[in-house]
């Protein structure tokens, strides 16, 4: 799946997908759930909370 296809399916721009991949943008819960649904996975499987690493 291309970035453009994913962007269209979750209702954002390709630039937002690029920013997500580059860890420059933290998505809203709704967007995170939409992306997870597209891949047929849970949010925790797609996104990783990095709080422990930063601390």
């Amino acid at each position: 799946m291309t970035q453009e296809e994913l962007a269209q399916r979750v209702g954002v721009t390709r630039q937002t997908i690029i920013a997500l991949e580059a860890r420059r943008y933290v998505p809203s819960l709704v967007l995170a759930m939409r992306i997870a649904r597209v891949f047929g996975k849970s949010v925790e499987e797609v996104f990783i909370l990095e709080t422990e690493e930063r601390a």
């Binding site: 209702g11 954002v12 721009t13 630039q15 937002t16 920013a19 420059r24 943008y25 998505p27 809203s28 709704v30 967007l31």
Partner: protein, 134 residues
């Protein structure tokens, strides 16, 4: 380049154009200086309004990252506007404290500069945030 980035570039171009216009042409006009400054301000507002239409920006079409950037840059722009108004007002009051009367040209310039500053801060912040973060 996204519509919001294009809007920022148009705003910056308009700010540079009308600032140069005021800086270069207004001193050449003797009789109606403050009116000319206000006309330049109106011209800039028209450019901003028209620029938004030309680049095809529809706020309803923005996604959540665009909206997030718009909110953040709006806050930065209001801070820039407020800072320029406050500093400008204090400077004008001190410059004219002996007369107790601020000339119309100075008031018009304060309005022009503060408005331009608001859009410059907004535009620069938009361009920076799209490059660096959200």
């Amino acid at each position: 380049m996204l519509p919001q980035q294009k809007e920022a570039v148009v705003n910056l171009c308009g700010a540079v154009l009308f600032s140069a216009l005021v800086g270069v042409l207004i001193p050449l006009i003797d009789s109606f200086e403050w009116e000319a400054v206000l006309l330049a301000l109106v011209g800039f507002i028209i450019v901003v309004w028209a620029g938004r239409a030309i680049v095809g920006l529809r706020t309803k079409a923005l996604d959540e990252r665009d909206i997030s950037i718009r909110y953040k840059t709006g806050i930065a722009a209001m801070h820039g506007f407020g800072a320029v108004v406050m500093v400008g007002a204090v400077v004008l009051i001190f410059l004219n404290r002996s007369d107790l009367l601020v000339p119309a040209l100075h008031v018009a310039l304060l309005a022009f500069v503060s408005w331009i500053a608001m859009y410059v801060v907004w535009s620069v912040t938009v361009l920076v945030l799209y490059r660096k973060a959200a």
